[in-house]
């Protein structure tokens, strides 16, 4: 397995998204492992600001030279912002996966439970190692 970077300040979903919660707002992106598996990213389809998203359900699409992949919302809430940089520079996802955020969510009730259901960095690393 190729080496990949692990951001220790975020939590991870089984479907390889990361979520960082700061000042009550959840920011979502995809992991370094995921961007490497995707290969070169060429396009992202982002949700509309104001649209509701549900934990574990598709919220965006990332398109690479290989395929189109779903990006799920790790937590439920309402999209309050999308990253305009990714529209013109989707390759930032390959270059800096933990800076290249897709969208920000104002979480609804239940955030604590949803976060608890996600992987810690160490658990995610163990999960990825198990993917062989």
């Amino acid at each position: 397995m190729a080496d990949y970077k692990l951001d220790r300040s975020v939590r991870y979903a089984k479907s390889h998204e990361w979520v960082r919660v700061e000042d009550g707002i959840a920011t979502v992106g995809v992991s370094d492992f995921a961007q490497d598996a995707l290969s070169d990213v060429v396009y992202v389809d982002l949700p509309e600001v104001g649209s509701p998203v549900s934990a574990g359900k598709q919220a965006a699409t990332v398109e690479s030279v290989k395929a189109a992949e779903e990006v799920n919302a790790p937590v439920s809430g309402v999209v309050i912002e999308v990253n305009p940089v990714l529209t013109n520079k989707p390759e930032q996802i390959n270059e800096e996966p933990y800076a290249a955020w897709f969208f920000k969510v104002r979480p609804t009730d239940g955030l604590a439970d949803e976060l608890a259901a996600l992987f810690s960095p160490d658990d995610y690393a163990a999960f990825v190692a198990g993917l062989g």
Binding site: S39, Y43, V65, K66
Partner: protein, 363 residues
């Protein structure tokens, strides 16, 4: 059973991401990534392991006469050393395979797609009766590399005393490349200048390393299948299984230019009929007006109806545009026609544009 090319260990050691392609394990990309590899070929040079391609040799007094029957290009116009693209067609005019044909001293080399190697062999063999020819499969003993890009000739020239200026486009010459006996064809599948190299399988690892070392100053990159696909796509070249198949005829694929109508090739009667009646559907180039990645098998719609299908599509690394090749009814094939590509249930506007999308020296 997956086959490994002689370069398998070399690919793995240099970080190649191995995938299955037409029964072979080949690198889809190296650590630099498909986009960087693609750009290296357009700006400098790239080196590809294409040993999965099959090579058949046809020799004997009837070889030329036999080829007039087997394939569509006019072999009577080929001099020794000439190389040309051609097609094998079924009697109904659809395509068995697209091939490259080399007229070498005393023999012909037929280069076929990996996925079609067994099928082509059986098909060719079944049409040899009554001809004084011998057909030999050289695929295992010959390895094949492609060195492509504007710096390809500079890189290869450093390794051989023979002047490469003696090899015009679509011709081949036998060279000594750093001690490796090589048939070098000035041909390729990228839209750039370059060479396809046929070498003894046991010496291909040595040649690969010689070329990589030679090309270091020019920015030569080892390239994988993903870059090979995006390069041929921009250059408007068909890929069997996508733009060509046993359900598609050459006129639909706009490959009528390969056909020597005066010769008695298999499929001629059916294709003459198609030519007279005009093909019902045609291969077109599409450029997305709405931003979206058009991919293989996505539906193409016109006037609210599904009318066709994408055969290849991607974001063009050179042009930065979202482009596709697709089959559509002939009435929707005119340049400027507005169509829709259905992307995840959403109709996205596209317009018919000229192919090839990319021509060297034309940017």
């Amino acid at each position: 059973m997956l086959q490994r090319t002689p370069l398998y260990a070399t690919h793995v050691a240099s970080g190649g991401r191995m995938v299955e392609f037409a029964g072979h394990q080949l690198p889809v990309q190296y650590p630099s990534g498909p986009t960087a590899e693609h750009q290296a070929v357009r700006a400098a040079a790239g080196l590809f392991d294409i040993d999965h391609m099959g090579q058949f040799e046809l020799a004997g007094p009837d070889a030329e006469r036999c080829l007039m029957h087997l394939q569509v290009w006019d072999v009577t116009q080929m001099a020794e050393g000439d190389a040309h693209y051609s097609l094998l067609c079924y009697a109904d005019g659809t395509v068995v395979d697209d091939i490259f044909l080399y007229k070498l001293p005393g023999r012909w080399l037929i280069v076929v797609n990996a996925a079609n190697r067994a099928k082509d062999w059986a098909w060719i063999e079944s049409h040899l009766a009554g001809h004084a020819v011998t057909l030999t499969d050289r695929s295992d003993e010959l390895a094949m590399l492609a060195l492509q890009g504007p710096q390809a000739a500079t890189i290869l020239q450093k390794l051989t005393r023979q002047p490469l200026a003696q090899i015009p486009q679509r011709t081949a010459l036998t060279l000594d490349v750093g001690g490796v006996p090589t048939i070098a064809g000035r041909t390729g599948y990228t839209g750039e200048d370059g060479f396809e190299l046929y070498v003894p399988a046991e010496q291909v690892v040595e040649l690969w390393q010689l070329l990589l070392d030679s090309g270091q100053t020019e920015g030569l990159l080892a390239c994988g299948l993903a870059a090979r696909d995006s390069l041929r796509f921009e250059a408007g070249m068909p890929l069997y299984g996508h733009e060509l198949s046993p359900q598609i005829n050459p006129l639909e694929a706009r490959l009528g230019w390969t056909i020597s109508w005066q010769l008695p090739f298999i499929g001629r009667d059916a294709l003459l009929k198609t030519r007279l009646e005009k093909p019902q559907r045609l291969l077109v180039g599409l450029e997305m007006v709405d931003k979206a990645v058009p991919r293989e098998q996505y539906a193409v719609a016109a006037d609210g109806q599904i009318v066709g299908q994408v055969t290849s599509g991607m974001k063009s690394p050179t042009l930065g545009k979202f482009l596709a090749m697709a089959y559509v009814p002939a009435r929707y094939s005119a340049l400027g026609t507005v169509l829709e590509v259905i992307v995840r249930d959403q109709p996205k506007q596209a317009v018919v544009v000229k192919r090839p999308f990319y021509r060297r020296n034309a940017l």
